[in-house]
C-alpha cells in the first residue's frame, strides 16, 4: 500500500497528488511514468511522474474516467493499493543549446521536470504552456522558476497569448535558432504542434500516452507506429521523435474502450450519489 502524502486541486478538475513510493522516487528521471491501481478491482493506469521530493513522487491528472475521478476523491493519508515504477525510458536530456519545452492542458504537468533537467544539462530553456482558458492553466510559477523564459497562451485569450502553443512556437522558431523541442499534451495538440517544427528540421520530441496494462513491455497494448515500425511506448518510449509518429493511429487506439469508459464512469458516479453521507462524498 502506498500513502497519499498530499493532494490538492490545481485547476478545475485537475489534481496534484504526492504519493510515498521510495522505490520510484529514488530512481525517477524526467520523462518516466508510473502505473497505479487504486484497489483490488482497479484498473492499472499510467501517469507521468511530474516531480520527486525525497520518498515522494508527484502525479498530476485530470478527472476524466472512473479511475481518475476515484483518485480525485481520495485525500491525504488515503492508501493506493499498487504503484509501480519508474517505467519507460527517460527523456533524452543533453546539451542541445536552446530548447523549447511546450505543455498543453494537463500535459503541462510533465514539463517542469524536463525543463529543469534540460537547464541543468546546460541548455537555455524556453517554456510555452497553453490551456483552453486561464482557469485551466497549471504549473505556471513552477515553469517560470525552471525556464529562462516562459510564454503563456490560452485558446480564449483569458491569459497570455490568444491562441495555441503552435502559434508561439512558430514565432520563436522565426526569431531564434532553436535546437530541440519537446511537446507534451493531448495527441491532437502534439500532432499539430509538431508540424510547426518539421519545415525547420528541428529535432522534436513528444511523450505519447496510449492505453497500457502492465507498462513493462509484456502486453503490447501501447504499440505505436514510429518511422513505419511498431514500438511499445511503455519500454521503447514514451518519448519519441515527433516527426516519425503515426498520430492518427495513436488517437484511434486511444478510443478503443470509449464505450466501456463511459459505462464505468456512469456507474461510478451513480454509486457516488447513492453514497451521500459516506465520509468521502458527504
Amino acid at each position: 500500500m502506498y500513502r497519499i502524502k498530499e493532494k490538492k486541486e490545481l485547476a478545475d478538475g485537475i489534481y496534484e497528488c504526492w504519493i510515498e513510493a521510495p522505490h520510484i522516487s529514488r530512481h525517477a528521471r524526467a520523462g518516466q511514468f508510473l502505473v497505479l491501481r487504486i484497489d483490488d478491482s482497479g484498473e492499472r493506469i499510467p501517469l507521468t511522474i511530474s516531480g520527486v521530493d525525497g520518498d515522494d513522487v508527484r502525479v498530476i491528472y485530470m478527472a476524466v474516467g472512473k479511475t481518475t475521478h476515484y483518485l480525485a476523491s481520495l485525500g491525504e493519508g488515503d492508501l493506493i493499493r499498487d504503484v509501480a515504477g519508474p517505467l519507460g525510458t527517460p527523456a533524452t536530456i543533453r546539451d542541445y543549446g536552446t530548447c523549447v519545452v511546450i505543455g498543453g492542458g494537463v500535459g503541462i504537468a510533465c514539463t517542469p521536470i524536463i525543463a529543469k533537467e534540460l537547464r541543468e544539462a546546460g541548455n537555455r530553456v524556453i517554456g510555452i504552456i497553453g490551456a483552453r482558458n486561464a482557469g485551466l492553466l497549471i504549473c505556471e510559477d513552477e515553469m517560470r522558476d525552471v525556464c529562462d523564459e516562459l510564454f503563456v497562451c490560452t485558446d480564449d485569450g483569458s491569459s497570455g497569448y490568444h491562441g495555441f502553443p503552435a502559434g508561439l512556437l512558430k514565432r520563436e522558431l522565426e526569431a531564434l535558432s532553436i535546437d530541440a523541442v519537446w511537446i507534451i499534451g493531448p495527441a491532437i495538440m502534439m500532432k499539430i504542434t509538431s508540424e510547426v517544427t518539421r519545415p525547420y528540421g528541428v529535432k522534436t520530441f513528444v511523450s505519447l500516452n496510449p492505453i497500457m496494462v502492465d507498462g513493462t513491455g509484456m502486453c503490447g497494448s501501447c504499440r505505436v507506429t514510429v518511422g513505419g515500425e511498431t514500438k511499445f511506448a511503455c519500454v521503447d518510449g514514451p518519448e519519441f521523435d515527433a516527426h516519425q509518429v503515426d498520430f492518427d493511429e495513436l488517437m484511434r487506439r486511444q478510443r478503443i474502450y470509449l464505450d466501456q469508459e463511459k459505462e464505468a464512469l456512469a456507474l461510478y458516479q451513480n454509486h457516488e450519489c447513492r453514497c451521500m453521507g459516506d465520509r468521502k462524498h458527504a
Binding site: 522505490h23 491501481r37 479511475t67 509501480a84 496494462v213 502492465d214 513493462t216 509484456m218 466501456q260 464505468a264
Partner: protein
Amino acid sequence: MRDRSPDLRIHDFQEVDPGLNGQEAIAEAMLCLQCKKPLCVDGCPVGIDIPGFIAQVAEGNFLAAYEIIRSENMLPAICGRVCPQEVQCEGACVLANKGSPVAIGALERFVADRAREETDPKPPALAEQTGKRVAVVGSGPAGVTAAAELVRRGHSVTIFESLHEAGGVLIYGIPEFRLPKEVVRAEIEGVKDLGVTVHLNHLAGRSITPEELLGHDAVFLAMGAGLPHFMGIDGENLNGVYSANEFLTRVNLMHADRFPESDTPVMQGRRVAVVGGGNVAMDAARVARRLGAEAALIYRRREEDMPARKAETEHAKEEGVRFITCANPVKIYGEQSVTGIECLRMDLQGTDESGRPVPRPVEGSNFVVDADLCIIAIGQSPNPLLARMIPGLRLGKRGTVLVDDDGRTSIPHVFAGGDISTGAATVITAMGSAKVAAVAIDRMLMEQG
C-alpha cells in the same frame, strides 16, 4: 479424468477437471507397479520420488505423500495441473506401453489439493541462516522455485516482481479454468511462509538499479519470456488486434470478464480469430468462448503438428473452437476495428530440424476469415529490458540469457533460469532449471564461507 461437460464449462471459468476424490486416488495409486528402477522419476524435470508418494497415497497417507512431493517441488498443485505429464512421468511409465499409465499428474494434484484444504502441513525444515543475500528477479515458476530452494538452505532471499501480484505467467497467462488463481496464491504463500520477501511493483532495472541488484551475493534472473511476437503484417495495429498476452492479462490478472465490477475492460468480440497452435493459443480461444464469442484458430501446419498439449487441443475442440489449419494470415482488414483476416493456404513439404513439416504459402490461395477480434499467439521472447542494462551479460540470438549447465551466466554471481534462458517453454522446465541453478548458487555461496 472426468471433465465437466463442454456445454457447462463454456459458461464459466471453473476448472474443466474437478479432480479425484480420496477413493479414486487410492484406487489409481494401487495401479502403480512400484518399479525397482522407476522410469517416471527420470521423466520428471524436478526428480520427485513418484513411486514413494504414490505408495503413501495407496495407503491413504495423503499428508505423508504431500511431504514427499514437497521435498522436491514447492508447487505441486500447480504442476499436477499444468505439467505435460504425457511426455514426462506418465509418458515414461511402463504401463503407458500397455495403454494407460498411472495418472501421476492427477494424483499429484489430489495430494496437493487435499493438503491445502484439509490439513495444516508443517513447513519444511530450514537450514541455519547463512547471512548471504540473494536477489531473484521475477516471481513466476522459475523465480519462486529458486527462492524456495535457496531460503530452505538458509539464505536471505528477496524477489522483485514488476506486477501487483506474484506468480508471473501462472497468474497473468494461464486461465482460471486450467489453473485456479486460489491454487497459485496458496502455493506462493507457502513459499513466502518460508521467509522469502516479495517486493511487488518493482521492475528490476528501474525500481532497483542493475548496480543495486548486482550488489547481492548472488542474483537469479527469471524474468520469463514476456515480450509478445507480432506477425508484422498490414492491419496489425487496428483496434481489436490483441497479443495473447494482453488478452489473457486483461482477463486473468485484471478480471475483465467481470467488467464493470472490475474496472479493466476487454473487447469481447463476436467472432474471434486466434493465430497460433500452442497452449497459449488454446487458452486465448477458450477464454474467448467463455466471453461469449465464436472462436476460430488459424494455424499454419496440421492439427497434429500443433505444439499445444493434446489435452488442450481436445478441450478447445470440445468447447467449439474451430480449427483452420494449413493457413497463415497475410493481412488484417478493417477501418477502425478488425473486420476480417486474409489468409493464404499453406502447403507442407519436407521437414525442418524439429521434425515438423515446413509450411510454404500457396500462391493465389487467398481467403478471408470473418472476425471482429484477432488474437496473436505466435510466441514470446525474453523481455530485453533488464538483460540489456547489465554490462557483460551475454545474450543468445533470440535475446535469451546464455547460461552453462549450472545456470550460471557470463557474470560469476549471476544465474538465470526459466524462459529467460531457455526461450518460451513449460512451467516445469522452468522449475527444473531453477532447481539446478539454486543448487549451484548454494554451492557458490557456501564455498565463499
